[in-house]
Structure formats: C-alpha cells, structure tokens
Symmetry: C2
Subunit: 300 residues, 2 copies
C-alpha cells in the first residue's frame, strides 16, 4: 500500500517524482517507458536553462535526477485500469495490481495513426512514428513526412541532415508550428512541401517504396524509402475511464491538477492543459505532486 502512485515517467511524471521524493512520500512510478514524447524530440531550444539540448539528452538528465532520490520505478508496465474503492485507489497493470491513497496520472500522449492502406503493413518496414529514433536509418534515402506542425518540422530538421529529398505532406494550406523552425525548414533546398495534401496509401515490397498523395482532387505517386508519420498525438488515457475527460480524450483538470475524482490527480500532456510543452508538463508535475501531498496531509 503506497501513499502515491505516479503513472508515467515523462517530464510531468519525473518532476512529480522528484517533488514526492523531497516530501519523503512512499511512492512508486509505473510507466511504459522513460521520457515519453520528450525522448522522441530532436533539438530542444525552449526548456529554460538549456539553450540547446536533444530530447534523449534532456530525458537522460531527467532520469538521473529522479534516480538520485532512489525512486522505485516499474518500467515496461502499461496500466490497464484504475479503480477507486472507498479511500483506496487500485492501479492494474499487465503484471499485477498496486494500491495507493492518491495517484497522479501523467501518461502523456501517443502517436496518432493515419488509418490508410499500407500503414500497418509497413510499420517498422520503412514507416515510423519516431524521427529521433529512426532518422539515422534513412541515410541518403528520399523520405516523406506526414504532417505540418512542430513535430513534423522537428522531423524535417533531423532528416535534412541525413536523408536525400524530404517531402512534407501537409493537410493544411500552409505549414504550422513555430516560425523559427518553419523558416529553417523552408530555407532548405532538399525540402519540398505539398500543402492541402493527404496520403492516400503506402506501398512497397519488403520495405516502403512509395506513397500515393492526394492534392486538390489529383493523386500522384511519390517514390520514397521512408515514411515518417507526424500526424499528431492522442492522449494516453484509455485506462482512465474512472475520471472525466473532454471530447478529445484529455483528462479534465483544474489549476490544482485535481480530476473529477478526489485523490486522483493528473498532469502533463494527458490533460486538457492548453499547451503541450516540456517545461509546462514539468511545472504541472510539480504542482500535481504538491497538491497530492496536501490532499494526504489533510486526510491524516
């Protein structure tokens, strides 16, 4: 029986763990992985205090910070369900059940799938959802990025250095995201942007060899050796049916990180916090841990 269970170990979950440790709470972190989406980021220039750091490097620093406090972390344990009975909250994973008096859900977001023919077939056969993890495998190859926001731009900035041609398939009429990233991408002659466009299908043999792109009613085939899906993210909240969510599946929280169920707090990208940023998620994690600590103190 723990005081606290933290679900997730991205920037929100790790920061919550640092704060819980400093409050000497008896707690455990249960998570799929360490770092969440932050680990998949390329160059990060807006985490205050680090002018420039890569996603994997920042995540290493976060992980070391958490582990300094001898935090108990159960990695590779996706959560299947949470339930509250009386004052006790039960967290069920693929390996067992854990009990606590409060929990913090900081399970982040997961990549959204395109839902087009060929996507499932070519996953990990030239099609990937993580540019940071996989870009180095596409040296000299022509590639397509599906998306037009910050994560697509981030993928483009990584691929420019490695790949051949870089096609961006953007559903909107122009690229979104931060001006500073957009300008860097558009200034590069390797990049060709298809606006008002969607991927219709993905084809190949053993590996991806082409995509079909629909633009203003017309379809064209583009030969590519790699497809990077950056079509947005969905909240990883499927297991959290016990709490209220918005239409997008984000867990509703107030400014104190309280959900609709007393004793269940949430923080970071899985919530309806209006912006998804590493520094914001970290701040929310801290706030959730302090709220959880106060909740327990008042119960005692």
């Amino acid at each position: 029986m723990y005081d606290l269970i933290i679900i997730g170990a991205g920037p929100a979950g790790i920061t919550a763990a640092v704060y819980a440790a400093r409050k000497r709470m008896n707690f455990v972190v249960i998570t799929n992985d360490i770092g969440g989406q932050a680990a998949w980021s390329g160059d990060i220039e807006n985490y205050t205090g680090y002018q420039f750091v890569t996603g994997p490097d920042l995540v290493s620093k976060f992980e070391e910070h958490m582990k300094k406090f001898n935090v108990s972390v159960k990695e590779g344990e996706p959560v299947a369900d949470i339930k509250k009975n009386g004052d006790i909250i039960t967290v069920k994973t693929n390996k067992g059940e854990y009990e606590a008096r409060v929990i913090i859900i900081a399970s982040g977001k997961i990549s959204r799938e395109l839902g087009v023919p060929g996507e499932k077939e070519f996953k990990n056969k030239g099609l990937t959802y993580c540019a940071t993890c996989d870009a180095p495998l596409f040296s000299g190859k022509d590639v397509a990025i599906i998306g037009g926001g910050n994560s697509a731009l981030d993928a483009a900035l990584q691929l420019i250095k490695i790949a051949g041609k870089v096609y961006m398939i953007n559903i909107a009429s122009q690229l979104g995201g931060d001006a500073i990233m957009r300008e860097k991408v558009m200034a590069n002659s390797k990049v060709k942007v298809f606006n008002n466009s969607q991927v219709a299908s993905i084809s190949g043999g053993k590996m991806v060899t082409s995509i079909k792109v629909r633009q203003e009613g017309k379809e064209r085939e583009i030969p590519v050796g790699g497809v990077f899906v950056e079509a947005g993210l969905s909240p990883n909240s499927g297991f959290a049916k016990a709490v209220e969510m918005n239409e997008g599946g984000e867990i509703k929280v107030n400014c104190r990180n309280e959900t609709s169920v007393p004793g269940i707090f949430a923080a970071g990208d899985v919530t309806n916090v209006p912006e998804k940023q590493i520094i914001i998620a970290a701040g929310e994690g801290s706030k959730a841990a302090l709220s959880a600590f106060r909740y327990l103190s008042q119960k005692r």
Copy 2:
C-alpha cells in the same frame, strides 16, 4: 508600439521571453532585476534536469538562454502603473511609457517586512532579506533567521557553513518546509530553533548586536551579529490595479493565464497559482506567452 511587453525577468518572465522570441514577436522585457527570487535561492535540487544548482547559477543559465535570442531587456526599471485604453496597453515606468497590444505580468514576489522596531534602522547594517547575497559577510558570527518555512531553511543551510550559532525564530509550533531540508537543518548542532516565537525588536549601535525574542509570553535578549528576515513574500502587484486580485494581492488568472482584463496575462509567483516553485513559474511563463500569441493571432 510593441506586440508584447513582459514585466519581470524571473523564471516566468524569462521563459515567456524565450517563447515569444521563438514566435518572432516584437516585444520588450521591463524589469527591476534578472532572476527575481530565484537569484536569492541557495541550493536548488528540484528544477528538473539539474540535480543540483545554486540560485545564481540557474539564473545565469536562464539569462544566457534569453539573451541568445537578442531579447531587448530594460533592467532597473520598476513599473509604476499599467492602463488599457481601447486596444492599447500602456506600461509606465520610472523612466518612461511603453505601449503594446498585450502584456504579461511576471513581476514575482518581494520580501515581506517584519514591521518591528529596529528593522528599518538596521537594514543593510546587519539585517538582510537575502541570505544568498549576504551570508558570506557573516563569517564566524552568531546570527538569527526570522522564519520557519523553506526560505528560512534554505538560509539556515547556507549559514551553517559560514556563521557561528544559527538561531531560528519560528512563529509556528514546529518548522515547516520540505522534510529533506528540515532534517538537514535540525541535524546540525549549530542550529537552535525557537518555536512559537516572534521577534519583538532589533537593537545595536552602528550594526546589529542583539534581538529581543518573545516566546510564550516571555521575552529574552539574544546577542547576534546578523539578522536574516525570511518571513515570507508579498506579490509585487502594486502597479497592477487594473486587474483583479485575491485578498493576498495575488493577480487572479485562469489556467490559460488570462487575467480579468483581455490582453493582460500574468504568470508565476505574482499570480494565484497554488504553488510557488521555479519549475512551475517557468511552465506558467511558457503558457502565458503562447496564450498571448494566440490572442494576438485571433485579433489580426
């Protein structure tokens, strides 16, 4: 005429500046100082990504980060008033007036005074509000810390290394703050804590020589060569009468950092955000900048 004026350059204001710069906004930062309360902190162990950093070091990193973007900073300019007329917001300082279409108030907190005889007289003559700035001047001297929360503990941890005896004058029945800091302080034989106690007056000649402490109806004189006032902080919001505040003078914001006046946003310790922490202020600064950017985009 700016897009945006940011008031304050602590963790919230600096992070807002980094985000505004990346969005290529036309803006200026107007501030008393760089770093705010963070610059006065001793050892920081809960800014995720830095296992251990001093306040001044973290502030240097923040400042370098902001200056990388060639941000225009007007330092040493306390703001006297803000006014909104139509769509234009005017910020009046001791040196002039500035106009913008949106502003972010991130002016933080300032030290609360004790209001006891001798306080004004001995300010900077042995009495200080900043342990980090001044502790090194008290080498070998017996000192008193007025307060019992995290900032008092932080001052104690700094003074243990430098001063002679360290008296803590705590109004509550026991020390507050983080367990991890409290344990370190209480384990040190130099420290003597007076609980349920208040300072009645401060005495001396050219410099402080003693304080009078009232404990459970009794008064006693304690000879000290230094007094560190760590009696809490007040929001630095006196110039912001244009927006709604709570009873404590904190600017009321919603989760999007909107104040009661459209176009005026606020972030960090000057607001009613439930916890005052560097990592939280930084996250709030990012959120405020993105909200301000969105507000302007929708206006255009």
